[in-house]
């Protein structure tokens, strides 16, 4: 039995934060210089009363409508999020109800970030190929903007909110990608490099204070998203090429055998560094960042959706996807279209 990525849709919130607005908020920030490196010119931000489940539902409704999918056929729901509506219950249960999905399905959240889509495909493949499900709805949804401190211009520049809905099926439908084998990686020793420290059971109180450097540049607040950019960069620059080598080895393929590489869209500078270190030609390296930024677990499905629309992905192609980030966690697989 095989599993296929059969359809992808996504939702971006209505509110757009573009670079000119960030420049107004932070006049000391050379936004044009940074944008030319990050490749990000605008990002979408969830509204004050717009949460993970709202965005997830919008993405799923778009999937059902645009791809003519019968919601009654969904027999498992997976939600990848780090910004759930509540500690409990599982946001996937709320989504099952609001989407009007069958009550005879499994539904669960899993907490991963930038590697989450790849892990979601792995879980979906496992459910399908062990006969537990035929049509898995995998939703990735994040409202990282709600974690970001208003003074944190670096993270504000990079991250955007989004949700993506992907149907994984036991049969091929339209332009479908057969999900292959996986290579995973985890290094929890670096968990503090990308973290929201306060609010969980270990540090329950939201008593963080803003910490600034000697030039009054924002460093961190434990209530908010903290990212050690240098550590994340080093992890990505040096570990992702190993991940890619391992997945190719698993398949006994060479770099040239892959038609398109779609990686987690962290930022363009990081992506180009990895691309050069691996030796991927730029024409085989898909980038989709300009208008949505780093949407965490949704960057790969958003990029795949656009690559299919752009005609960059066609039947017969092998597409290597890789997700990497918070955890630190990474994963890769090959989709055969």
């Amino acid at each position: 039995m095989n599993s296929y990525v059969s359809a992808i849709s996504y939702y971006l919130p209505e509110i757009i934060l573009d670079n000119s607005e960030i420049s107004v908020q932070h006049p000391e920030w050379s936004i044009d210089k940074i944008s030319s490196k990050t490749g990000i010119y605008s990002r979408h931000i969830s509204g004050n009363n717009e949460f993970c489940s709202d965005m997830a539902i919008s993405a799923a409704e778009r999937l059902f409508h645009d791809c003519a999918i019968n919601r009654e056929e969904i027999d498992f729901l997976l939600l990848c999020t780090q910004s759930p509506d509540y500690f409990l219950p599982t946001t996937a249960c709320i989504i099952q109800d609001k989407l009007g999905l069958s009550k005879n399905i499994g539904a669960l959240d899993f907490n991963l970030g930038c590697s989450g889509f790849v892990y979601g495909l792995g879980l979906s493949k496992g459910l399908i190929e062990t006969g537990q499900a035929k049509n898995v709805l995998l939703i990735t949804a994040e409202t990282y903007s709600k974690f970001i401190n208003d003074d944190d211009k670096s993270n504000k520049t990079i991250f955007g909110d989004a949700a993506a809905a992907t149907l994984i099926s036991s049969s091929k439908k339209g332009v479908s990608g057969k999900i292959g084998n996986f290579t995973y990686g985890t290094d929890g020793s670096k968990h503090a490099c990308l973290i929201v420290k306060n609010g969980g059971m270990k540090h329950r109180s939201l008593d963080g204070i803003n910490i600034f450097d000697e030039n009054q540049g924002f460093i961190s607040n434990d209530n908010n998203l903290y990212m050690d950019g240098k550590e994340i960069f080093n992890f990505t620059a040096f570990e992702v090429p190993i991940l890619i080598a391992n997945i190719l080895k698993k398949y006994q393929l060479n770099l040239e055998d892959i038609d398109l590489f779609v990686f987690h869209q962290a930022n363009e500078f990081m992506l180009q560094t990895i691309r050069k270190r691996i030796g991927i030609p730029s024409e085989k390296f898909y980038i989709y960042l300009k208008e949505s930024g780093n949407t965490v677990s949704s960057t790969i499905p958003i990029a795949l959706n656009n690559a299919i629309k752009d005609g960059k992905i066609k039947d017969g192609m092998k597409v290597l996807i890789a997700g990497f980030g918070v955890g630190l966690s990474m994963g890769s697989t090959i989709l055969e279209f």
């Binding site: 050379s30 210089k33 940074i34 030319s36 490196k37 950019g229 240098k230 960069f233 080093n234 620059a237 040096f238 500078f269 560094t273 270190r277």
Partner: protein, 76 residues
């Protein structure tokens, strides 16, 4: 390790590497296009081309290209 090649490799990490010129004594952080991402890129370049690990702390202690060159040379 040739110093001229090292300077060129160093310069290539700047977004406007083709347009700028600097001497060994130039304080590279004062170049307009310098930013922390350029610094990360230089550390990766040093590891890739010269097989040397330079820590963030060591790199921060260098002000000029010559100082970075000497640091790398001391580790080869």
């Amino acid at each position: 390790m040739e110093i001229e090649k090292f300077v060129n490799n160093f310069k290539d990490q700047f977004i406007d590497g083709d347009e700028i010129s600097f001497k060994l004594e130039t304080e590279f952080r004062l170049i307009e296009s310098w930013d922390s991402l350029t610094g990360m890129s230089i550390i990766v370049m040093i590891r890739d081309i010269y097989g040397v690990d330079v820590t963030d702390f060591e790199f921060k202690s260098c002000k000029t290209v010559l100082e970075v060159f000497e640091l790398v040379a001391s580790k080869i």
